[in-house]
């Protein structure tokens, strides 16, 4: 059954999958144990004649104690064992030094992506500047924001690099879901949340929205392209050139 999990291509995903497998085997063992006893009892302890008496017995404290203590120990172990992996994935003090920062903004029903243009610095943003034409709310006065690259429903990242995604939403709550990276994080309007991951394999992967955001929720699909650094750099340059061209033509139109 474990084969049904989608292929994992991220470093942190290994921790998630490891725990999944561990809990899976524990559950199967408990399930089989309980249900074997259960079915044996059902077969063995049927009433055969009317009025037949059962064993008059009210319980045993030692047994009660042991089936309280054993699950308690098991579940506490699982909690503390899980927590180590959880801290690596989510705790801000474990946040790695990223090779690339991408800002992601959810809008019903698409994903906006923003890269810090050629200067490597994002333009300052504020919630009050957000508008349909300025999804990230970039301060129009800030020169650092002029060369920022924004795009819709396509995300490119270099392979084997640590990516930090800053996540928020323009309207309602969305959830940024990368099945193959084992990443899921709600995008909450009015709040920025950081998630990080590291893809070890190139290819195209799907990005989905996992939180109901309206009737078009199912259409909120984006594509993540993981590529070698060199190809990624080419892609960024292309985007940057396109942006300059379109800016220039826009400039030309206003000048005319």
């Amino acid at each position: 059954m474990l084969d049904w999990l989608p292929e994992n291509v991220s470093v942190f995903g290994e921790g998630v999958d490891h725990l999944f497998r561990l809990i899976y085997y524990i559950s199967i063992a408990i399930f089989l144990l309980v249900n074997t006893i259960y079915i044996l009892f059902i077969i063995r302890y049927r009433r055969k004649r009317k009025g037949e008496k059962a064993y008059h017995y009210h319980g045993n404290n030692l047994l009660e104690f042991s089936w309280t203590a054993l699950p308690f120990a098991l579940f506490l172990f699982l909690a503390f064992y899980s927590d180590g992996i959880w801290e690596d994935i989510k705790y801000s003090e474990k946040k790695p030094n990223p090779d690339l920062v991408v800002e992601v903004m959810g809008q019903a029903y698409l994903w906006h992506f923003r890269y810090p243009g050629s200067d490597g610095i994002f333009g300052r943003r504020e919630r009050r500047f957000i508008s349909p034409t300025n999804p990230f709310g970039v301060d129009p006065e800030d020169p650092n924001g002029r060369d920022d690259l924004t795009g819709i429903n396509t995300m490119h990242i270099p392979v084997n690099k640590t990516i930090l995604v800053r996540l928020s939403s323009m309207d309602v709550i969305h959830s940024f879901f990368l099945p193959n990276m084992r990443v899921k994080q709600d995008a909450v309007p009015g709040q920025w949340v950081d998630v990080w991951f590291n893809s070890v394999k190139t290819g195209e992967y799907e990005i989905a929205c996992a939180e109901l955001c309206g009737s078009g929720h199912y259409l909120m699909r984006a594509v993540l392209t993981v590529q070698p650094q060199r190809e990624f750099d080419t892609w960024i340059d292309e985007q940057y050139t396109n942006k300059r061209v379109s800016l220039a033509s826009a400039q030309a139109t206003t000048n005319e």
């Binding site: 009892f41 009210h58 579940f75 899980s82 323009m170 309007p189 009015g190 109901l212 929720h217």
Partner: protein, 610 residues
């Protein structure tokens, strides 16, 4: 028998005047048994509405965009497109209303409203609830609230469409149907609180003479503890609903940050500055305990049923009571496990993971004690017992799948996928609903005075059991594949395309499952009036309700009661029978034994003469 007079009777009869008018008996009744039946019938109606909604959802998931067979083109144009296929808008309303109806208008009214009302006074030997009028109001708020919720159908934009969890800002900028949803839940909350206050008071003050708290059957314990959770939790939901109502209507911003981009709505008067996560905290502070509101009474009913039909004392009675109390109190501190990926501080995730893992312990205790009860029992597999046995097994699966999502890193992947949908249905259908079936069949003779058809009930059970697993088990696999919940068309995603055959398999099972419930209704409708007359105590059970006539008259008991022992003295050596009612006095017991021995010696003498 010791003449311990049950003082309530005469005063009760005088107080109510025993009016025989149709309206006082069947409509505005203050009799707890009638109110229980009213809850049951109303909940059955909603069960079929909610069930039909589920089948529409399943059809769309298995055959996205294809017309609904037979009835597709007959449905209103706001629901389906010209070809008769479910639209995305209606789909979102369907999933919202399915969840809301099944939780608030089916399971809670059946477990708490029906069994709480029917069983509490009868099982503690009282003539009615402590506050019969309050009880009537508690019922009548429920159909009114149900109608208000369904009225969204006539509004622009249709019924509520933000999911049963109604996360703002989506629910704060929604269509009028959402406002009706809020008002409706607010009223249902009041209904619950009125019922809860009533249950607590009744259990504490109106037990029959001689009945200590630890003589209470598990059903009463469970509903009693549930009532306490309701009284603690529901006001919090009510306050959250009030805030959401104001966000929708009065341009407040409890849950809305500044400058939301909403093209469909004028946001200029909404100041912003609110926090969407606040709703989630308040909502789950009620709605996680609500999961226990929906399972604890079921556990109580199942404990009683298993002990009765195994002819054996409930294993570890006190441990069972303490486990319920533990679940109730831990249940209040685990709400954050719904919010691991919400943007809440991950440190809180760690805390809630630990508390969530710990709450699995009392559930394990209960499971082992049910097994212990069956050990060396003499089990008789009537319909109530079959359903109770299924409950335990399904609850184990629901509990184990819960461990996956309790572990925060695993939850990163399975959160908001069909794994969760599978889990919740194993708990609320495999758990709660099987317990409802067990209880309904168990008390059918007492409620109606007739016997149901055992054959029909067994057909109903087996079809339900098989197709239930066929429907909900594969959902775990869909979840492992990453299929998100609440999506209208999974085929939009390449990684979900391989799962389409499984979606079809689920839908076929779901269809059979849905239609199989007609067997339950047929059994009830026909045998309620036409069944064989039921004896006072057809299951040879110990608890007090079986000392009343079937069906019990207004005021319940026709003879004074005194309680001498706990509810689970099955197969006690001091009794000549395999059961020992709570009301049998020690003197009667001696008398019975003498009688029995005399008869035995007569038989022996007769054999000797031969």
């Amino acid at each position: 028998m010791e003449a311990a007079l049950h003082t309530g009777h005469d005063g009760h009869a005088a107080g109510h005047g025993h009016s025989n008018s149709f309206i006082r008996t069947y409509v505005f009744s203050t009799d707890h048994k009638m109110i229980a039946k009213q809850f049951m019938v109303t909940a059955f109606i909603f069960l079929f509405i909610g069930g039909a909604f589920a089948l529409f959802i399943r059809w769309q998931l298995a055959y996205p965009g294809e017309p609904i067979p037979v009835i597709g083109t007959m449905l209103p144009s706001t629901w389906v497109n010209d070809a008769g296929a479910v639209t995305a808008e209606w789909y979102t309303q369907l999933l919202t209303m399915h969840g809301t109806i099944m939780i608030f208008a089916v399971i809670i009214p059946l477990l708490v409203g029906t069994f709480g009302n029917f069983a509490i006074p009868l099982m503690i030997g009282a003539d009615d609830m402590a506050f019969p009028f309050l009880n009537m109001v508690s019922y009548w708020l429920f159909p009114i609230a149900g109608l208000i919720m369904m009225a969204g159908f006539f509004m622009e934009g249709g019924m509520a469409a933000s999911g049963w969890t109604a996360y703002p800002p989506l629910s704060a900028i929604a269509s009028p149907g959402q406002t009706l949803w809020i008002v409706s839940l607010f009223l249902i909350g009041f209904s619950s609180i009125l019922g809860g206050v009533n249950y607590i008071t009744t259990v504490l003050n109106m037990r029959a003479p001689g009945m200590k708290m630890f003589d209470l059957p598990m059903t009463v314990w469970a509903v009693f503890i549930t009532a306490i959770i309701i009284v603690i939790g529901t006001p919090v939901l009510a306050s959250a609903l009030a805030m959401l109502f104001m966000d929708n209507f009065l341009h407040t911003s409890f849950f809305q940050p500044e400058n939301l981009i909403v093209p469909t709505r004028d946001m200029s008067r909404t100041a912003g500055g609110g926090q969407p996560l606040l709703w989630q905290h308040l909502f789950w502070f009620y709605s996680h305990p609500a999961v226990y509101i929906m399972i604890l009474p079921g556990m109580g009913v199942v404990s009683d049923v298993i002990s009765t039909f195994a002819r054996k004392p409930l294993y570890g009675y006190r441990a069972m009571v303490f486990a319920i109390v533990a679940i109730a109190f831990l249940g209040i501190v685990v709400w954050g496990h719904h919010m691991f990926q919400s943007g809440m501080n991950p440190l809180l995730g760690t805390t809630f993971m630990v508390s969530t893992m710990v709450i699995a312990v009392p559930s394990a205790i209960k499971t082992f004690n049910w097994l212990g009860t069956m050990w060396r029992g003499k089990m008789e597999f009537t319909a109530p017992m079959l359903n109770a046995v299924a409950f335990v097994s399904m609850f184990v699966i629901g509990g184990l799948s819960g461990i996956f999502m309790a572990s925060t890193p695993v939850d990163v992947f399975i959160h908001d996928t069909y794994f969760i949908v599978g889990h919740i249905h194993y708990v609320l259908f495999g758990g709660s609903l099987f317990a409802v079936f067990a209880g309904l069949y168990y008390w059918f003779p007492k409620m109606s005075g007739r016997m149901y058809s055992e054959r029909l009930a067994k057909w109903h059970f087996w079809i339900t059991f098989v197709t239930f697993n066929g429907t909900f088990f594969p959902m775990h696999i869909l979840g492992m594949g990453g299929m998100m919940r609440r999506i209208y068309d999974p085929t939009v995603y390449d990684f979900l395309k391989p799962f389409q055959p499984m979606n079809e398999f689920i839908t076929i099972n779901a269809m059979i499952l849905g239609f199989a419930q007609l067997l339950l209704i047929a059994n009830f409708a026909w045998y309620w009036f036409g069944g064989r007359k039921a004896k006072r105590n057809p299951w040879r059970a110990n608890t007090l309700e079986w000392q009343a006539p079937s069906p019990p008259p207004h005021g319940n008991f026709d003879r004074p009661l005194h309680v001498y022992r706990g509810p689970y003295e099955y197969s006690a050596p001091e009794s000549v029978q395999d059961y020992l009612p709570q009301t049998t006095s020690p003197e009667d017991l001696v008398e019975q034994r003498r009688h029995h021995e005399m008869r035995l010696s007569q038989v022996q003498q007769a054999e000797h003469l031969d």
